[in-house]
Every structure is written in C-alpha cells, then in structure tokens.
C-alpha cells in the first residue's frame, strides 16, 4: 500500500479547507465552479511522492499487441479514443452488415451476461462475461479456442487486457489474473484490497493498470468477496502491477484515511481503465462519487461526510512507473447524487493543446490541461434539473436530472477534433435519506429501484474538442448505455432496448440501425470488416459478429432521420 507523504496530506488538507471555505462563501449555483477556480489558481494542484515501491516496473514500452490493426485495448488504444483502425466499414457499405456468427453467453450476474467490450488481436477475440469467465474465439469463425471458467458473478464493467502474450482480467472475487493468451492457462494471480469484477485493466510499460470500485476488508476466509457499493469504510484503489509476476508495484487509495471522519462513508471507485500517455508514461484515472448519497436515516444530506470528500470525483495524474501523483483535480466536490466522474478519460490534442477529457454521470464533460490539470473548458450536456441543490428538503422527494443512471454512463470517443458521448436523460426521485437508507449500499439499492427506465431518453452528442461547443445532437426515444465507437465516417452506439445505430460523423444523420436480439449494456470492438458486439440482456444473451457481406442479414432498412442538429 502506498499513501502520500505528510507534506501532501498537509497540502490536501489546506486545499480542502480553502475549498470548503469557497463552498461556504459561494451561492448554491456557483459552488462547484468556485471550488474549481480555487484549485485552478493553485500553481501545482497537488503532488505526492512515494518511496514505497515494492516492485520495479520496466521502462515505458507498449506491448506488441498494440501494433497493427485490431482492437487491442478496452477503448481501442492507450488514449481511450474508441477509434477503429484500418476498418473497411463506412457509411457507403454499412447496410451490407450481416451476422457472421453468434456465440451464446450462458451465465449472468445482476446486469445480465455482458457489460463491457471485447478485444481483438491477430485474428483472435478475447471476451469476459459477467460470470467472470474469459473466452478466446477466432475472429473469422467464432470457433472457441479456449475458455477460462470462473463462474464468479461480477458487477461490471469488467473485461480483459492484452500484453506480452498474456490476458489480464479481474475475477469476481478479489484478484487480478494473468492467463496465457494462447491457452488460457493461469500464470499468476494477485490479491487486491476489495471485490473485483468492476474494471477492465490496461497493459503498458511492463505493467498492468487496474483498479477496484469498492475496496474493504475481506468478509471471511474461503468466501468470495461480494461487491457492496459505497459500503461502510469502502474505497476505490488504483494499482500498477508488474506484468511479469503480478507483484504490486504501487497502489493508491482513493478515499483519504479515516473515510472523511465517519466509518459509514466510502466510495471514489475506479470503474474504467486509465488513459495512458505513451510518451510520458503518465496514467490518468477517474474516480467515482462519495457515499452515502444523498444520505441515510441517521445522516441525511451527506451530513456524515462534510467537506469535499477527497479523492472522489477526481481526475488523478499518476506516473505509471512510480505511482507518484503528479497532480489531481477534484471536479465535483461533495457530490450528493451518485454523480460519478467514472468514465475512462480520453487523451485529446485539440486547439493546439494537449488535453485530458473526463466525464460521467453528472452529465458534464471536462477538458483539463494534461500537464497541469487546470480546467480548460467544461460543458454540461443533456437535461439538468435540481442537480445544483446542496440539500434536499426533509421528508420530500425531489426529481433530479441526471438521475441515478443518467448523464454520461459509458465511454466516449474522439476523432478529428470531435468528441462523441452518449447522454442519458433519465430522472431519479431523491430524498435526503435516500429513502431511509441505513448505509451507502442501501442508498444505491433504494435509488436504483426507483429509477424508471421508461421515463428516460438518450442522445448522442458531438462536441468540438478544443472548445466544448456542441456540434450536433441526435436524440433517441429510449435510454442507452452503449458508448460511442468511431469507425471511419460513422459513429456507432446502441440503446438499452438493443437498437444499434450508425450515425454520420459529419452531421449526426442516421444511416443505419439494427435491432439486436436482446438488450445491450455493453460496447463493441471493431477490426477490418467485422464488429464484435456483446448482447447481454434478454432471453438470448450472446456475442455477435457483424460483418460486411455476411449471409444472415442484419439490416432492417434505412431508418428515418431523427437527428436534431444544433
């Protein structure tokens, strides 16, 4: 375990105190902005050092799997751009997509059978289902090469990483595993500080970078650890793990020691892979919200956790080789609405600057200067209603947009100066006590269970990456958790009801849609003429290969245009 030195703690406390003063001084609608400004005014937002590295990592070097075509990382590349390389699919031929093969997914957890994306490398597809089973299949035929069966329910989004001939994946207990990419045989496993099955790792520079969303002490020997989101005393963790032998090189606890003064508190989970700057070796991580949120019967309106609740909803710039925190920027202090900054950050070059772009369930896109962490622009997207309230009235429900599953839930994409995000306008009724929750975990259950999907819609938005200006917006009639995936002149996404869309990147016009045989809470990988798409919900969960010219026709005709350019 590695924690910042005292100097860093002092700096953090100082910033927290100043931030709290800024919050107190600011009006309700300016709270967040005031705090950010204070941070922005600080020459170095925060720095941390550590000499507690236990395993030395190799110099920066990309795994050979990252070369050439394919989809070798969770979001296509180390920058998390979700751009397909060398694909032949485009607007002119997308209607020729048909089903090349399907593979049934037999096991499920709470969120169905699939909640992340596959990888594709050298003609092989690697995928992990929500029972944590890892499978390798031939891209051409769907023939299964090997399965590593775990049968451990995972919350997701999980999924594999590739590097140096190995597959790395979290199990549904509390481990990161390394498997032989050719055979699926286990090479090593490393225990982490809490339940796994909630993050897709990424490999670079001799390391595997992974994180956990809800770390806490183990329940008991011989038992699988179960996810207890925002459970008492929980914390997210970020890790740099040596790829060769699984030794932990460094780790970072995302909730400060003491859990903000009360053991009922927890959160700041790591949900998605970091973005990695391959030139500098710096890794960029996003953290989730603090809990309980909004509160419990005993501690309404987050009264158990005064202050900014570091490092929840924070972008962390960590040197991947040493674990040293170069800078951090908390983008949504003291959140009370489960408004995570959970999404995979994206490395962007736009407007003559190197930026890092963060986003999440609060429905805001943030662009920061990559070397200093200073805010360059921010853009609220989708519907916002009552999300500026700092307190909820006692005994009364307030409808909040974005709701518990609202805002930007899934990874965005970046190509040619434009960012693409799927945004959900889905409200949740909140009360000060999260409907008489007894802790953070029941606050999650109570709010999830009152979020009615049928009341929601979604849209795909295109933003100018240099300024945050909205270029266009295409609305869908239902909610969606399908990410954004760029393939040449198209951007793909899907809605929860299983409709897959291809929009023209230039103006957002719909050029193709297809009804999948089940609901989708996952995102595709693309290689050459093929899209590998997990369809994990409904009565026939399956992994589907859509290919140009395949016999089983996927097209249901050119759909009517629905976009609304802005």
């Amino acid at each position: 375990m590695r924690t910042p030195r005292n100097g860093f703690l002092v700096a953090a406390i100082l910033v927290a105190v100043v931030g709290a003063a800024a919050i107190a001084a600011a009006g309700p609608s300016r709270t967040r902005l005031a705090y950010e400004r204070r941070l922005d005014a600080t020459p170095f937002l925060a720095t941390a050092k550590s000499d507690q590295t236990t395993a030395k990592l190799a110099d920066a070097a990309a795994p050979p799997e990252l070369e050439g075509d394919g989809w070798p990382t969770a979001n296509a590349d180390l920058a998390n751009t979700r751009v397909a390389r060398g694909s032949s699919i485009r607007a002119g031929n997308v209607e020729r997509l048909g089903i090349a093969w399907r593979v049934r997914l037999d096991e499920a957890s709470k969120w169905g059978s699939a909640a992340s994306g596959p990888l594709i490398s050298n003609g092989v597809v690697f995928f992990q289902d929500l029972a944590s089973n890892v499978v390798a299949l031939e891209l051409l035929t769907g023939r299964i090469r090997w399965r590593h069966v775990l049968r451990q329910k995972a919350f997701g989004p999980n999924g594999p990483a590739l590097g140096w001939g190995r597959v790395y994946a979290q199990d549904g207990d509390h481990h990161l595993l390394a498997l032989d990419a050719k055979t699926g045989t286990r090479i090593w496993q490393t225990g982490l500080n809490g339940p796994t099955g909630q993050q897709q790792p990424v490999a670079f520079g001799g390391a595997v970078y992974t994180g956990i969303a809800s770390g806490r002490k183990r329940a008991g020997p011989g038992e699988l650890q179960k996810t207890a989101l925002l459970g008492p005393n929980s914390s997210g963790w970020a890790y740099g793990i040596r790829a060769r032998d699984g030794r932990i090189a460094w780790s970072f606890r995302t909730v400060t020691e003491g859990n903000w003064g009360n053991p009922v508190n927890g959160g700041a989970g790591i949900w998605f892979p970091p973005a990695i700057d391959s030139q500098t070796g710096i890794t960029y991580w996003s953290t989730g919200n603090p809990g309980p949120a909004p509160g419990t019967s005993k501690y309404p309106n987050a009264s158990s956790r005064p202050g900014p609740n570091l490092y929840s909803n924070t972008l962390l710039a960590i040197d991947g080789r040493t674990g040293r925190v170069n800078w951090w920027h908390q983008l949504l202090p003291h959140d009370i609405y489960h408004h995570d900054l959970q999404n995979a950050p994206i490395l962007v070059r736009a407007g003559g600057r190197d930026l890092i772009v963060a986003s999440g369930k609060m429905g805001i896109v943030f662009a920061l200067d990559r070397s200093t962490g200073r805010l360059v622009w921010r853009r609220a997207v989708g519907r916002h209603e009552n999300d500026n309230l700092k307190r909820l009235p006692p005994g009364r429900a307030v409808q909040v947009y974005p709701g518990f599953w609202g805002g930007i839930e899934t990874p965005g994409a970046f190509a040619d100066g434009t960012l693409y995000f799927q945004v959900d306008d889905l409200p949740t009724p909140y009360t000060a006590t999260a409907w008489d929750a007894k802790d953070g975990q029941t606050s999650v259950e109570n709010l999830e269970g009152r979020t009615v999907y049928a009341k929601g819609t979604s849209s795909l938005i295109a933003l100018d990456a240099g300024s945050g200006r909205i270029r266009w917006q295409h609305r869908f009639g239902t909610v969606g958790f399908g990410a954004a995936t760029v393939v040449n002149d198209l951007v793909f996404t899907s809605t929860y009801d299983g409709m897959v869309y291809a929009l023209r990147r230039r103006d957002g016009r719909e050029v193709w849609r297809w009804q999948a045989p089940g609901g989708i809470n996952a995102w595709p990988a693309v290689s050459g003429d093929t899209i590998i798409l997990p369809v994990g919900l409904g009565l026939r969960p399956q992994l589907i290969a859509l290919r140009l010219g395949a016999k089983e026709h996927a097209t249901i005709g050119r759909a009517r245009p629905e976009h609304s350019p802005r």
């Binding site: 997914l105 499920a108 957890s109 709470k110 169905g112 059978s113 329910k153 029941t442 259950e445 109570n446 999830e448 269970g449 009152r450 979020t451 009615v452 999907y453 049928a454 929860y496 009801d497 299983g498 009804q515 999948a516 089940g518 609901g519 994990g536 919900l537 409904g538 009565l539 026939r540 969960p541």
Partner: protein, 122 residues
C-alpha cells in the same frame, strides 16, 4: 356442568381455529409485505417498480403468465437458479425470502396468484 364444559370446549376449539386462521392470514399478508421489501432491494432495478420490465431487456412481471401459473414451481426455479441473462438468487436469498418475494410478485399488479410457502421454495 357437562353442557357448559362442552360449550366451553367448543368455544375454545373455535377460538383456537380462529387464531390459527388469523395467524395464517396475517402470515400471508406479512409474507407479501416482506416480499415487497425484497423486491425493492433485489428486483425492481430490472423488472421496475411497476413490474412492467423493459422491452427487449427485462421481462414484465405484471400479468406475466408464468408468474400467474397455479403452480409456482417455474417462477421459483427462475428466481432460485436464474434463466438466460437473469442470475439466480440462491446465494443471496434464503428459501424463505424467495418465497416472500415470489408471493409478492404473484400478488402484485393484479396478478392475483396464490402465495408461496418457504417449503415450496426449497
């Protein structure tokens, strides 16, 4: 005295039966009420608070013919062991809790099917 004693015995017997019946009714009502709590914690995220589910994703439970079958065995099997993209709940809920939540689902939204005992869910 005999008639009196007989009457007393009859009154006692009737009272006892009544208490048992009341307890039975109360038990069923309580089971459904407890089941509603469990539904809110474990089921309504997917099948939704009104039991309507979500098209292509989560089957509706309101008016669902499998849920309303006179024989609760199929729905108990699905809740206990899972089906397709729905996980089983055997590891998270006891047979008694499964009976409660299935009793609630069979009762709610006009389903009007009979409650289920813990013995049936084992």
């Amino acid at each position: 005295m005999l008639p009196h004693r007989a009457t007393s015995a009859r009154v006692f017997l009737l009272s006892a039966v009544g208490v048992v019946m009341l307890a039975g009714c109360g038990g069923e009502a309580q089971r459904v009420a407890d089941g509603k709590m469990i539904y809110g914690e474990h089921c309504s995220t997917c099948h939704q608070p009104d039991g309507e589910g979500y098209a292509q994703v989560y089957p509706n439970l309101a008016g669902n013919p499998i849920v309303r079958l006179p024989d609760p065995a199929p729905v108990l099997e699905i809740v206990t062991h899972g089906s397709a993209s729905m996980p089983g709940f055997a590891a998270e809920l006891s047979p008694s809790q499964i009976a409660e939540v299935v009793s609630y689902v069979r009762d709610a939204w006009g389903n009007d099917a009979s409650p289920v005992s813990a013995a049936q869910s084992r």
